[in-house]
Symmetry: C2
Subunit: 394 residues, 2 copies
Amino acid sequence: MYDIEMYRLGATRTGIRELFEYGVRQAAKIGKENVYDYSIGNPSVPAPEGVKEAIKELLEGDPVALHGYSPASGDGAAKAAIAEDLAKRTGDPIKAENIYFTCGAAPAVLGTIRALRQDENTEIILLAPFFPEYTMYMQACNVKGVIVPPDTENFQLDLAALEQRISPRTQGIIVNSPNNPSGVVLSRGTLEAMAEILRKKSAEYGHPIFIISDEPYRELVYDGAEVPYIPAIYNNTIICYSWSKSLSLPGERIGYFCVPPCVDDSENVYKAIQGAMRVLGHVCAPTMMQKVAAKCVGIKPDLTVYEQNRKTLYEALTSYGYRCIKPQGAFYMLIQSPNGDDNEFSEMAKLKNLLIVPGTGFGCPGFLRLSTCVDLAMVQRSLPAFKALIEECK
Amino acid sequence: MYDIEMYRLGATRTGIRELFEYGVRQAAKIGKENVYDYSIGNPSVPAPEGVKEAIKELLEGDPVALHGYSPASGDGAAKAAIAEDLAKRTGDPIKAENIYFTCGAAPAVLGTIRALRQDENTEIILLAPFFPEYTMYMQACNVKGVIVPPDTENFQLDLAALEQRISPRTQGIIVNSPNNPSGVVLSRGTLEAMAEILRKKSAEYGHPIFIISDEPYRELVYDGAEVPYIPAIYNNTIICYSWSKSLSLPGERIGYFCVPPCVDDSENVYKAIQGAMRVLGHVCAPTMMQKVAAKCVGIKPDLTVYEQNRKTLYEALTSYGYRCIKPQGAFYMLIQSPNGDDNEFSEMAKLKNLLIVPGTGFGCPGFLRLSTCVDLAMVQRSLPAFKALIEECK
């Protein structure tokens, strides 16, 4: 009657969403102020005022042009504005024809994997810790996800483990830096060493291994951390971006993929991803939001709230004896489970109405993720629970 | 290096788009006023004023709530508003949980087909004439499209041909009424006879055969034509809708699928399509537009322009000797090729800068499609070319 695999995908809630929904029910029972919900990565900072102004301005123009179909790849002028900004920031001569507007980063990454797929034995490398939805992407594209275990020391990359996992069937590797769930930014040194391995293996196997750079958090960095522009380090890099976090527009589904000119056979790779976008039901990205994104070029997100949360949590939790991985970007923080078991510790925390996500789903057992896109007041109210919890583990 | 099938999908422009782009180039050469472009179905009527008002109102609210993620199926209150309106109009007790907001009708139809798929031998029936993109949907879902040839007499349905084409592998049939490209509305009698056949065959093969009702044009009807609510005639109907045409928002990618309660195992069918939506990269439909659609419930499209075009074209072309299929809905009209060959006639028309799309791509050779969502002044300027063309064929 219907496909059972699709049914399972539709009927199963992710662990994150389950925890979040538990929090909503619990808040209804005991009061919102008594639930400390660190489960979900929904920006808590409003969209910059420039977004509202851009929409209002656009509304005064011709509605047929504003809301009409754009070409599948996006409005030409909007693509040009994004390309120009990227070129200016990176020094890479990105042009409008390298940019393709998508309904957020998710379809951009999915479309890229689908385009790179050779057959059901194609392998895509995932670097733990990783966004759990990536494993669904593997299923959706019918390829094999090959996991490189986390470097739990400094959350850069176990280069030997990576090299070992590249096979003649490897078509791509997903890089997500700043990272969800760790908030860690891959250093230039790490990226250069990774590029070296990928170049060697591409030559050995006679085909390019692509980096799929999923970078929705690239503008969310702290302490002046550098987020290196990956195509300048490794040419066969496809960029997948979203304004979900940088402009706090996650519901509006606006992002892009970019196949820079330095990619081997760049124009045709772009066309292959374009074909995959059709298969995903893409017609065009929301047209008004394409133009909003173009108008908001140069607007920086206000990171004050995220920075305060990060600082407060890191300092307090470290002082209680937690091992925290210091995030340089995004709005997440990993802590090591004081009792060694992330699932068990998450359950213990739940009893104190503290909702933190086990790392196992991120390919990172023994750790837990805190989403720090929350209210500072909630952070402060939650600290005694963290303290009590680690004491229970002693 | 990349998937050649995806590359072909991305590198190939549809015949419609090719003709449209030819028109743009030609307009640059000889002046826009000398090109009569009937190629593309892009609404020429602006979005109702209510859309602008709704956006402005929403912008005054909390931006975090406005632009934040909604649940994958959509904002609860917006779903409830759409469900209530549907229930009121149809008498069917549709609830919020039957509605799932999508990025337009395309992913809704694709997701439904994907959810109904059993294996690569699954068959989906297409009723000619049909939207050419449906054949891409078959490829995208790796199912077989089985075509019922057109009833070229009155563009209803050749029931015997339909019955003959249903097999034990038939999972669904796409119904698109009002129809692109003919503008014809399937009558209640036709739908009842179709339902009778589907019930008989469902019983014979021991599984439901679903109607996938792709109905973005349902509010665009003329002369008081009735568009019957299909689930009331045949219970196993899944509705795929888009506000692209009714609110002139095609670029904003906002639509829904609805699995009415009368569908067998309704709740689980909904979940299976929900799973398929994840596979398509759906996270949520654009949140602000979900709320705009909910606020615009009850707003009717202004059909004056389309009606005038339809009347002017139908009367003039009929008087010149063309056989025109009188459209009762949408913004298209089919004409029979005066020389019997639609491709050849389209080329002849092109020489007169008249751009009309051959019916072959719609599964309807010997006919041509005119998109009537154009300027009335252009229609009037184009009439001498139509007259001269048919005279050349005599």
